[in-house]
């Protein structure tokens, strides 16, 4: 009888932990899939039995209603599918602008909150405590109705230096109309941007090698402004302006920021900035004071200490909660429907849903959109977080 070789002995598949775990996970997956499939089929069957139309065919039907503001061409003759994109772009616009503005204001406030200047620190504190403790919907209503009521009717508009006009229908401004040759100016701008990127790389390498700093910011700014400007002048100013004109009811022509957008953007920005300020403060305070002292010992002044030593280290603490705030802001933008800003929820889940009555499809699509936007923001922020995370050497 040969000695029992436990190493190579065949184990029955039902006793093999690996096989077992795969089989059970497969069963779980299939039953989960079956579960959702059943719900889906059930919903469809039940809706059909009750005479409720299902399917996505409605997306190709003519919408027949007007939308206040659209970034892409739209009128009543376009389809319901088009209203989806009109709403989506309006949502992305307010969320994108809101994120940028809230970040800028939030960072400034967070730093101000830690200022040695008593007045600045307390002012920032009062702002943060007031703004983040009032429900957002109330703030949106406040800015919309309070500000709207304070603004004059179109005939009594407030002019700003003959360029802007402000009244309760919005902020009117001359719209640029590019003429032939303007594309060269745009090309010059693109060239300038590429130049700046190259310059930044070169300056960094030079500093790493020689230790000599280069005034990157000032030179880049000059590049970005001067190069397109020179081309603009050389081409003989190929740009005219379409000025808004007072008509029977209000101003027509030109560009316009509707009060709904202004109120919503303002409220979202101010509200989220208060939270971001606290996150920034926490991040800065998480960097030990020894770092500041070390920077001072190296002879760095206050500005560079903050910019080169404190902020980069605090970013590791700031980024994850900051991502949550970005997601909150994006989702909160759906409160637009309360004041009539034509975002995705107002246009698509509001009017379109009601005209077609296809609640399941439309609510599903809208949820999928918010999920996609949120996951995209998360992904970008996580990638950035990974890049700046502390690398142990």
């Amino acid at each position: 009888m040969p000695p029992a070789d436990h190493g190579t002995q065949k184990v029955a598949p039902w006793n093999d932990p690996k096989v077992r775990s795969i089989v059970f996970q497969f069963i779980a997956l299939v039953s989960l899939g079956f579960f959702f499939y059943t719900i889906f089929q059930n919903t469809l069957a039940n809706m059909e039995r009750r005479g409720i139309t299902t399917g996505l065919a409605f997306l190709g039907h003519e919408a027949g209603f007007g939308i206040l503001m659209s970034l892409i061409p739209y009128d009543e003759t376009y389809t319901y599918g088009r209203t989806f994109f009109v709403g989506l772009l309006n949502t992305l616009l307010v969320a994108g602008l809101g994120i940028v503005l809230a970040t800028v204001i939030g960072f400034a406030l967070g730093v101000a909150r830690l200022s040695n200047n008593w007045i600045i620190a307390k002012a920032a504190m009062v702002y943060i405590e007031v703004l983040r403790n009032i429900p957002l919907l109330l703030q949106i209503f406040f800015w919309y109705f309070a500000v709207l009521q304070a603004l004059p009717a179109p005939r009594q508009s407030i002019p700003f230096g003959g360029v802007f006009t402000l009244n309760n229908r919005g902020l009117y401004f001359p719209a640029p109309v590019p003429e032939s040759g303007f594309s060269y100016v745009l090309a010059a701008l693109v060239a300038a941007i590429i130049g700046v990127v190259l310059l930044v790389r070169w300056a960094r390498r030079r500093q790493e090698i020689s230790g000599q700093p280069f005034p990157v910011f000032r030179v880049s700014l000059a590049l970005l402004v001067l190069v397109p400007l020179l081309v603009f002048v050389a081409m003989g100013s190929p740009l005219s302006w379409d000025h808004p004109e007072l008509q029977r009811f209000s101003y027509g022509g030109g560009g316009r920021l509707i009060p709904e957008l202004m109120a919503l953007l303002w409220a979202l920005t101010m509200y989220t900035a208060a939270f971001i300020a606290e996150i920034v403060r926490a991040g800065i305070q998480s960097v030990s004071h020894g770092q500041t002292e070390a920077a001072r010992a190296l002879g760095l002044r206050n500005g560079p200490t903050l910019r080169l030593v404190i902020i980069p280290q605090s970013m590791r603490v700031i980024i994850p909660p900051l991502t949550s705030q970005y997601l909150n802001l994006t989702k909160n933008s759906s409160l637009a429907t309360a004041i009539g800003y034509p975002d995705l929820v107002s246009v698509f889940m509001g009017t379109t849903l009601n005209q077609t009555g296809q609640a399941v499809e439309i609510v599903g699509m809208t949820m999928a959109v918010y999920l996609t936007i949120s996951l995209t923001i998360s992904m970008v922020m996580n990638a950035y977080n990974k890049k700046i995370a502390l690398t142990e050497r």
């Binding site: 027949g64 009543e76 009521q149 027509g252 009017t351 009601n354 009555g357």
Partner: protein
């Protein structure tokens, strides 16, 4: 793991069963619950509006009360669910409410693709415009370029687009969730025009701080037959709601009012006898005094009209299209026989 899987399957099966059983049987459901759940507006004077004590009244509310009186014998046994225009059909489809009586326009799309049935028309309306006096606008044809405040999810939105494109005019629609918000938008000067069904415009005008500053333009740009709505596929309940409304109209035609219903009940008029007693109720699955209860507790259609939107109300709307057919209007009910 196995237990979870079985649990999931069980949940799926039970879910599919509940989904199936929501249908049919609303009449038995209401009788068993002992109250009627009725979807109404979030506040529209004359049609469905709650006072400071949360007592609802209005022409649409009276339809709910009539159905409750017919089914349960007590017009007070109604629970009201205020709904925005956007929420109303989903609330009905999902079974959250037993019926919808919320100034809802009967249209082809709604009737055919939402799984709902319109049980008649309790108010013939049409869309109009309200502007502030200061603008000096005399007709809707002068509205080119105006900003228009409007409530989301209404037929009004579509009519507005049709009217302006037909006239070759441009407009800016500012869309709000509730009629309260759209009135606020109009008042704050965000819009030049408020558009809605004309009856609503009169009702909303009372809510303005200064009603004298607003005028309703003469143009009526659409047909808006408003009526109660039920779920499709529940014919017994559909009949109950339909005939509760018809009973009110028939009562007015036979001059039966809440005041004289007792004496009419014992009169020899065969039509009145059939309506107030007889087997009409039994065929609907109701008691024989179903119509008596409606008329005694709610009144006939004319009474409800005058009390809520007509002479007895601040709205002072004339009968117009809503007069009986015999008096030059459109209100007509099939005979009870």
């Amino acid at each position: 793991m196995k237990r979870i899987t079985i649990g999931l399957l069980g949940a799926a099966v039970s879910l599919s069963m509940t989904l199936g059983s929501v249908q049919a049987g609303t009449l038995d459901d209401v009788k068993r619950k002992g109250h009627l759940t009725c979807g109404v507006s979030t506040g529209l004077p004359g049609f469905s509006n709650a006072n400071s004590k949360n007592v609802w009244s209005g022409l649409d509310v009276d339809v709910c009360r009539a159905v409750a009186a017919a089914v349960l014998g007590d017009a007070g046994k109604v629970k009201y669910t205020p709904l925005t225009a956007k929420e109303r059909f989903t609330a009905l489809q999902s079974g959250e409410i037993d019926m919808l009586s919320r100034n809802t326009t009967w249209t082809h799309t709604r009737d055919t693709s939402l799984g709902i049935n319109f049980a008649g028309v309790n108010y013939y309306d049409g869309q109009g415009f309200m502007v502030s006096k200061g603008l000096g606008v005399k007709s809707a044809t002068e509205l080119n370029g105006a900003a228009v405040c409007i409530q989301a999810g209404t037929t009004t939105e579509l009519n507005l687009a049709d009217y302006f494109s037909e006239k070759g005019m441009k407009y800016k629609a500012v869309v709000f969730d509730t009629s309260d918000q759209s009135v606020k938008g109009f008042e704050s000067g965000r819009c030049d025009v408020l558009t809605s069904d004309q009856s609503q415009l009169y009702a909303l005008r009372i809510k303005l701080v200064n009603p004298g500053n607003a005028v309703v333009l003469p143009e009526v740009i659409s047909k808006e037959p408003l009526g109660p709505v039920v779920r499709q596929g529940d014919d017994a309940w559909f009949n109950v709601v339909k005939w509760s409304l018809f009973a009110m109209v028939n009562a007015e035609e036979m001059s039966i009012t809440s005041a004289n219903v007792d004496s009419k009940k014992s009169s020899s008029n065969p039509g009145a006898k059939r309506l107030l007693g007889g087997d009409a109720g039994g065929k609907l699955g109701l008691s024989s005094d179903w119509a008596y209860n409606i008329i005694k507790q709610v009144g006939n259609y004319g009474e409800a009209f005058e009390r809520n939107v007509g002479k007895g109300s601040p709205l002072k709307i004339g009968r117009g299209l809503n007069a009986l057919w015999s008096k030059g209007g459109l209100q007509y009910a099939p005979p009870v026989r």
